[in-house]
Symmetry: C2
Subunit: 146 residues, 2 copies
């Protein structure tokens, strides 16, 4: 844990260098915190979990910056609240979720549709750099028994 954190920080320094971006306590701690989360979390949740507290505005600004550096990815579960997840190298941030409409339980999904669909759509409409946002919604086993 301590080591992987150390590693993250080295990576972070490398990524931020030359961009005139600084390593600050809030940014460190936000990354650290995100590294421990299993699912996307809201800015508010992050703010509440910070041990060395900072302003909520700083959390928003940090997240925006980390997102722009491709260290963090933003997800949208359809409740008017952005959620953030650390981008991990194996899926490069590209994965999806299954969310219970009732209790809001989240399951990480590692499957995706065939990429041909996306490239076909891109080509058909002359679009470039096409990506997608895909989330599944349903009723988890507990919530079905109502």
């Amino acid at each position: 844990m301590a080591h992987s954190h150390q590693h993250d920080l080295i990576d972070l320094r490398a990524k931020l260098r030359g961009k005139d971006h600084r390593i600050t306590k809030p940014r460190e701690e936000i990354l650290d915190l995100l590294g421990k989360e299993e699912h996307p979390v809201t800015a508010k949740t992050i703010h509440e979990k910070l041990s060395e507290s900072c302003d909520l505005v700083t959390v928003y600004r940090s997240l925006k910056m980390l997102e722009s550096m491709d260290l963090v990815k933003r997800f949208d579960f359809g409740d008017n609240t952005a959620r953030f997840e650390l981008i991990c190298p194996d899926d490069n941030g590209h994965h999806h979720h299954l969310i219970c409409k009732e209790c809001r339980t989240v399951v990480e999904i590692d499957e995706c549709f065939d990429s041909n669909l996306e490239s076909r759509i891109a080509k058909k409409h002359g679009f470039a750099e096409v990506t997608h946002q895909l989330e599944f919604f349903g009723l988890c086993s507990s919530c079905q028994t109502t």
Copy 2:
């Protein structure tokens, strides 16, 4: 146009009857207006386009009601603003969009991935009534030349 509107209204009456829901001018006109749109529109846009104006709150309330009756579907293009589209019978409201990250141009997409993916995911995690939200984002041909 006039006829299809008439038809919509008959449908509407049928659907609302028995639910203690009433046919009102704002609801009629919102449905009428949505029937003319090619892409999802925001509550604000709808409000601005209403000829017989009503309060924006009424637009929100009407949309929520129409959504709950499965007459209208809500979409999320990732800009913190809900967009609404009339559910048309041929796709039953299930379709997706391709949105230009730059100019926000919207293309209606009628393709989707194989439904096996969804049922596999549902089964694997014990979820029921699983649906999905899928939107594509990219750069349209005009916006690529930057």
